[in-house]
Symmetry: C3
Subunit: 353 residues, 3 copies
């Protein structure tokens, strides 16, 4: 529980100025979605199209944009005006969320930690987790229950590896990385040499995976090790559930990949890209920085110009794809016109005969 004035002080640590409209002494018990918030709760309005909630909402506190038309806060509600109400609300959420406990502090008695592993200070390891030979784990990192680190895995500080994650040998993970349950990092790349009789010989997958700082990876995602070298997920990238990242890919800084997208081998995706759900990439492509890929797109060639939006199967620049989709929707009309023309022409021919 915090008073509104305490929340104001909290936000002033991040934003200047924070303007209070209304009563600062009201006690706030927690956050809620705008349409569900009631007395004692805090919510936010970041977007003009939700300004109707400035009147309707029953939250005791709304965090709004500095320009929001909130009057003088008369009545039971108060407002905190900031330049980025969405991010401000995130800070409030963090405050109310408190520290999350994945597993009890310390090393569970049932965990298997190799004698050659090196653990930092304040590391927590859950029950039945396995920490392989020569692994290193940084300060304040949490390893969830039944998670397996094979040998020679290096994990930085302040990471949270949730239960039931598999990190294959040689995986390198930076600081402040979050990996959700069921994710598999470093499994073999999918590489086979075809033989004349139609069978395949497995190509040894000798590389590894490196995950840089501040990356978050969702549940049941797979990131394969490189055949040789490193599959690299760069600093700040955010990867959703059930995503496939194949061997030797490079995912740029602060790139966001939505659920069920699939990135084939040796694809290089730039910085600050947005990859929609269920999008798929053919192998060996290069995607420039700040490319935005629509959900379900099928990318079959490189896009080297930064900042493009692409869409469709095969993917093309958004404008071209939308024009094409409009033309397809207009096909019935085109067919009708064509038939009308045929009839008119026939009439004209007969008249001219």
């Amino acid at each position: 529980m915090m008073t509104i004035s305490e929340i104001k002080t909290l936000l002033e640590g991040f934003f200047q100025p924070v303007e209070l409209v209304g009563d600062g002494d009201t006690v706030i018990t927690g956050p809620a979605k705008i349409e569900e918030a009631g007395a004692g709760q805090v919510s936010f309005v970041a977007n003009e199209k939700y300004y109707r909630f400035l009147d309707e909402a029953r939250a005791s506190l709304l965090i709004v944009h500095s320009d929001a038309p909130v009057g003088d806060g008369a009545g039971s509600r108060s407002f905190l005006k900031v330049k980025d109400p969405y991010t401000a609300f995130v800070f409030v959420l963090e405050k109310f969320a408190g520290t999350r406990q994945i597993t009890a502090p310390g090393i569970a008695a049932s965990a298997s930690v190799a004698s050659s592993a090196r653990l930092g200070r304040n590391v927590s390891i859950g029950q039945h987790a396995v920490i392989g030979e020569r692994c290193t784990i940084g300060d304040d990192t949490v390893i969830g229950q039944n998670t397996v680190l094979m040998h020679d895995v290096a994990i930085g500080s302040n990471c949270v590896i949730f239960p039931l994650v598999a990190c294959y040998d040689g995986t390198i993970i930076g600081d402040r990385v979050i990996v959700h349950s069921g994710t598999v990092i470093g499994a073999d790349g999918f590489g086979f040499a075809p033989q004349q009789d139609g069978s395949y010989i497995k190509i040894p997958q000798m590389g590894n995976v490196q995950i840089e700082d501040n990356v978050e990876i969702g549940a049941n995602t797979t990131i394969d090790r490189a055949t040789m070298g490193t599959t690299l997920v760069c600093r700040g990238a955010k990867i959703d559930n059930l995503v496939q990242i194949a061997h030797n890919c490079r995912i740029g800084e602060d790139t966001v990949i939505a659920s069920q997208a699939g990135i084939s081998g040796s694809v290089r995706i730039g910085r600050q890209c947005l990859i929609g759900g269920q999008a798929g990439f053919a192998g060996h492509l290069e995607i420039a920085d700040k490319t935005s890929v629509a959900a379900k797109a099928g990318i079959s060639k490189s896009f080297s110009q930064p900042g493009q939006a692409i869409r469709g199967v095969p993917a093309q620049p958004m404008r071209d794809q939308l024009r094409q989709e409009a033309l397809i929707r207009g096909l019935g009309d085109m067919k009708a016109k064509l038939e009308a023309l045929e009839a008119q022409l026939k009439a004209l021919q007969e008249r001219n005969a």
Copy 2:
């Protein structure tokens, strides 16, 4: 092993009437697919288009529709005639399947059960499973080997949670729920606040997941916790393998979702919908009851009229989509006609010149 008369008695517990054609004393050793069934086995024919099997099949017993033209059962085969032969066969399968053992009865010595957890009667917990602080597990529920329940997970009675499932803190599961291996329930929703420098701040995911009674969830599926509030899977829903259900979704009662479908954040799907494999939904949509979504559809807007069938990318009503697909298939013809028209018009113009 059961005699045909015993199977008749079993079915009479569910259907009236059950008519026997042929000999009731034959012993049936088990069920089989119609094309593989032999002497001593039972199979079924539910659909008129398989009526040829009424003659061909070598099963000793066929369960058929009351109207099936089965004659007097002369020869080695018998028939049981019921109004719903498919469901009747399911009851026979259940009888032959017997009780399935996931793990030995009782609490495995190697399981980690928090002292604050509360277990009902006749609970089984497999080896190396982890039951976190303050979890509750109802009567007759089975928790598989190496499954992890984080803290404050509540599971009802008569559930089967297969091995290697992860339930995050706060997950609520009803009665008679089945969850297959590798599924992750309650991982963080995919929510990040973009910052001016292109990086992202994680939005704390403070909600949970609730799974109501009689739900079955396949293997390696992910159901994310709500940012605030609850991601809800309603009573009787059936969810296949590798499905993504994002934060704050609501999946209606008795809705069926096939493998690899992806439901983005805050989508509400109605009751008794059928969602095809690899279908994908954009965020914040509402889908009415009894909507049928074709495999691979890409749903980019809400469909509010109940009972529609939709298909395509972007999805549209089935009839419109099929017409559009037919128009696309006819494009070669259209092009040929257009070129013929051009030639004819040119000839006419020259004649008129």
Copy 3:
């Protein structure tokens, strides 16, 4: 480390002839990708379009095709000329990769092995793995940490089952099979009998899964057990990550399935097929041998002619689909031509009026 002459001898065990151009005494420390290889490293050039690397590469040894124009090897680089340089390089990779250790040799003290299980010679079982009643494991097979074999699972010899794999009861796995982490073999098929009130009754899934020799299965893939009978993955098939193979499927010998493809129930795929990523198959189809399915294809009918390439949604033979895609790209032109025709015809009509 090996000298070039030693590598020549190694390859002569597989290929005849192997021709050395240059110095055989140079010591090679390891393999590398052609663009990254430096002094002391070996790489390969298999494809004419990379022949520029014959001059540019800084590797000490290049494995090339017998016909490659490599001159006399003057300078610091040597060449080994063989008929299949790609496969030759794979053998060199294997030599340098050495034996991979998944878990320590022997049975980990924390593993749970049922007293009724039968283990071959030289089996390794990782920490907290669970081997259920009546399982059998062949010689030299490795079971990873926290992997669960339910009861009556049979695994052959020389297999590697990585950590955190789930094999349901009755699963049968041949020799030299590799299964990566997070994969679930034998979970229940997705089968429910609809009832008049809109709810469903679960159809007991009484069959199993059989994986034949030399199959490799990626991470977080799901292969469901048959309703009755067996879901079969035939000898030598290679299956990538996050693939769905539903109940009662049959995947032919040496067929390759890329990531996130989905195969619905009772589909039969022939031998030596190539299935692209994110492709999806409707149920009960038959796909002939050596069919090549493009990424993202949606296969809605059987393709019974062997050796076809198919593509698109719904999938059709490659040539038809490419023609259709070209027609769609030409729609803007068609529309312009149609409008020009309309104008010309109108002019002609007015002139004739």
